[in-house]
């Protein structure tokens, strides 16, 4: 139950922030391009995307906060340890979030109010800061694969440079941001293809623009995904085997390859959308496959994130499955780490059925209101006011 709660809020948070990465990249560039080329469609689209992003960023924050609170409630000892060790990467992410939040508000409120160059400058802050956030968080994810940079003497601390040279870090970071761009481009294409299908003839210009970008980003993300998987194979084999399980005939302790199969199915839908795009690109018409590609890409992100997290079960740090590595850690710190980095040892005070029920009582209305909010934002009567 504990892990389902964590997975749910983390997955929703990740999907929203992935869209945020793509939108923060697209919005300032599209607006600038629209201004330079005097292209009304680009200008309108960038404003529509910004309205959506400004309205939903808080939602991503709510689920991110819920995840942090859940993690603290269920695994207080892990948070205590992580606070001592990963303070700097967390700090990088937090400082980037602060400036990103400022950039969102300043960019949104100053739209058409400030000079174009000033607005574009804020847009660049929006763009750059969004890539710094996962830089910090993915450094922590890589550390949870392989605790490179962990120094035990004279006291446990993190050698940040060594941590950033973690072999799983760069592939994971690049794969993540490229996949985020692909998902964002597919989602934009999907939404505007839907608009086109409902009679907005100009919407196809946006699909025309974003489907090639989605194709490129999707292809690169797959290559980087393979590289990341290979680094896991080389450095954290336990996680690799759990992730791909029977698909690679591995003796997985916990076979989570079903998550990878979901991801593959979503990849297939995105590939079909690309094929559809290649077929219709010279004579554009409605494609239900491109409409399906947006949701498919977001489900793939969700499944991929779950796969990356669950495949190291029951270890917070996947490398702890390596007996040779564990025996290289001196006592008593070995037992100390093993106890705090065990996902099966959750806080007994937070794992009663009563508390689960109470959590659900609060979580369900939050989820329902989030769905209603997104529905109103996308399809409700407020749409014309919000988007135009």
């Amino acid at each position: 139950m504990v892990l389902y709660f964590l997975a749910l809020v983390f997955g929703l948070h990740i999907v929203m922030v992935n869209l945020g990465i793509a939108f923060s990249t697209v919005i300032p560039i599209l607006k600038r391009k629209g201004e330079k080329e005097n292209n009304e469609i680009y200008l309108r689209t960038s404003k529509q995307l910004m309205n959506f992003y400004a309205a939903t960023y808080g939602l991503a924050g709510v689920f991110g906060t819920a995840f942090t609170v859940f993690l603290l409630s269920f695994y207080p000892s892990f948070i205590g340890l992580a606070g001592h060790l990963t303070f700097i990467p967390f700090g990088i992410a937090i400082l980037a979030i602060v400036v990103h939040f400022f950039a969102i508000t300043a960019y949104w409120y100053s739209w058409d109010k400030w000079k174009s160059d000033t607005h574009f400058l804020i847009g660049m802050i929006l763009l750059i800061s969004v890539y710094l956030i996962p830089l910090g968080f993915r450094a922590i994810s890589a550390f949870l694969n392989l605790p490179q940079g962990l120094e035990l003497t004279p006291k446990p601390h993190l050698d940040v440079v060594a941590a950033l040279l973690n072999p799983t870090f760069l592939p994971l970071y690049l794969k993540s941001v490229t996949a985020a761009l692909a998902a964002g481009f597919f989602t934009i294409s999907s939404a505007y293809m839907l608009k086109y299908g409902k009679g907005d003839k100009e919407a196809i210009k946006i699909v025309e623009k974003f489907m090639p970008l989605a194709t490129i980003a999707f292809t690169i993300a797959i290559v980087l995904g393979i590289i990341y998987a290979e680094t896991l194979n080389l450095f954290v084999n336990y996680k690799f085997e759990n992730a791909f399980g029977f698909l690679i005939a591995a003796k997985a302790k916990y076979d989570f390859s079903w998550l990878f199969i979901i991801k593959l199915a979503m990849f297939a839908l995105q590939t079909i959308a690309i094929v559809s795009y290649l077929k219709i690109r010279k004579a554009w018409r409605f494609s239900k496959y491109i409409v399906a590609a947006g949701p498919a890409s977001l489900i793939a992100i969700f499944a991929g994130e779950m796969l990356n997290s669950f495949s190291q079960y029951p270890y917070f740090v996947a490398k702890l499955a390596d007996k040779e590595f564990v025996s290289s850690i001196p006592q008593p710190i070995r037992d100390y780490l093993a106890e705090r980095l065990n996902l099966e040892l959750s806080n007994p005070l937070a794992t009663s059925m009563g508390l689960y029920t109470l959590t659900l009582v609060f979580l369900v209305p939050l989820l329902i209101s989030a769905v209603i909010f997104l529905y109103i934002l996308l399809f409700g009567k407020e749409r014309s006011e919000a988007l135009d």
Binding site: A106, K155, H157, I333
Partner: protein
């Protein structure tokens, strides 16, 4: 909910303060009430525990209720978090001979966790933080602080807009903001702030002593009346607090700066309200300082609350040294982060100003 956690950190349920018309540090106070599980009780040497200042004050079906001097609680928590075993901790000295042998290699954290978790269960898993004796005044004080700061912000923003454009809706916004601010700051001063002060005097006497450390005698009488309902009551003496429990003296200066600024802001709100009611002209653009001053007062209030809790992170349970990261940033890194955050704050204020100015 967040205030309940913060209130728990100020005064957890079961805390027994060290002041009752005089300091009781020599008698082992402050003490914390703990529910020791029945499984652990036989391992404890009751006579040794009592000689260390512990009092057995009752029983439940599953536990024995013990009031333990917080100096011992602090040491147990500190030893637990530094990874010591029972044999390496002060707990060892209060164990029976047979328990000493069987428990000496057990991580202390396991034992302390069991006692703390059992205490939380006995007090109420869902309600433990809400049972802090300072919760109710704290939540009221925080809510009215936020209303006060928000209404001064509304007033300041509309005042600037009104000074610039003289539009009716801006004047209406200014009126709405300033009247609400005046009502709110009055309630804050006379009711919620007072209740907060009374709670601090009763449950955090060390902090109260720090707040009133260098207060002139004639003001002390007023403070004594406000805190205890008796102008002849004795204010706890700051300089008699042992170093291990003494909050920093700066709390006194922060507190009185806050009080003076709050009184001045309240008077200013009264004057502006009068000018608006009488429809008189006023250099309204200057009122943009209101939000800043209100934020400073709020900041000072939180500084008194948080710094005044030192040397505790959770009063009576965990001290700052235990809660502190073992890898603190260097002074240079901390300064750099402070500059970064200040720069963003400045940019945000500037952006807000530009937005308001341009409308």
């Amino acid at each position: 909910m967040i205030m309940s956690v913060n209130s728990y950190m100020q005064a957890p349920p079961g805390i027994i303060p060290a002041y009752d018309n005089g300091w009781k540090f020599e008698e082992g106070y402050p003490k914390l009430t703990l529910f020791v599980p029945n499984e652990i009780v036989p391992a404890l040497n009751v006579e040794v525990l009592k000689s260390a200042g512990a009092e057995i004050i009752g029983k439940t079906k599953d536990s024995v209720i013990v009031a333990l001097p917080v100096s011992i609680v602090k040491q147990l928590i500190s030893d637990s978090f530094s990874g010591k075993t029972v044999g390496e901790s002060i707990l060892y000295s209060v164990l029976t001979e047979s328990a000493k042998e069987s428990l000496k290699d057990v991580p202390l954290l396991k034992v302390v966790d069991a006692i703390v978790a059992n205490t939380v269960k006995e007090v109420g898993v869902y309600t433990v933080t809400f049972k802090s004796p300072t919760y109710f005044p704290s939540i009221l004080h925080a809510i009215f602080a936020s209303i006060t700061v928000s209404s001064f912000t509304v007033a300041g923003g509309y005042a600037l807009a009104y000074a610039k454009r003289k539009e009716d809706h801006a004047k209406l916004g200014l009126k709405y903001g300033i009247y609400l601010a005046l009502i709110s700051i009055t309630i804050q001063g006379l009711v919620t702030g007072h209740e907060m002060g009374v709670a601090v005097a009763e449950w955090n006497p060390e902090k109260f002593a720090a707040m009133e450390a260098n207060t002139p005698t004639f003001i002390e009488k007023i403070v004594a009346f406000l805190a205890y309902g008796d102008s002849n009551a004795k204010i706890p003496e700051y300089y008699k607090i042992p170093d291990e429990f003494k909050p920093p003296l700066i709390v006194h200066y922060l507190y009185y700066t806050k009080i003076i600024l709050a009184i001045l802001l309240g008077l200013a709100a009264l004057i502006v309200s009068y000018m608006l009611i009488k429809n008189k002209d006023f250099p309204y653009a200057y009122l943009i300082a209101f939000p800043v001053i209100a934020q400073v007062i709020s900041f000072l209030g939180w500084a008194v609350r948080e710094i005044g809790r030192k040397p505790w992170t959770i009063y009576g349970i965990m001290d700052v040294a235990t809660a502190h990261t073992i890898n603190p940033p260097s002074a240079g890194a901390a300064a750099l982060i402070a500059v970064y955050l200040t720069a963003i704050l400045a940019a945000l204020i500037f952006a807000s100003y530009k937005f308001l100015w341009r409308g």
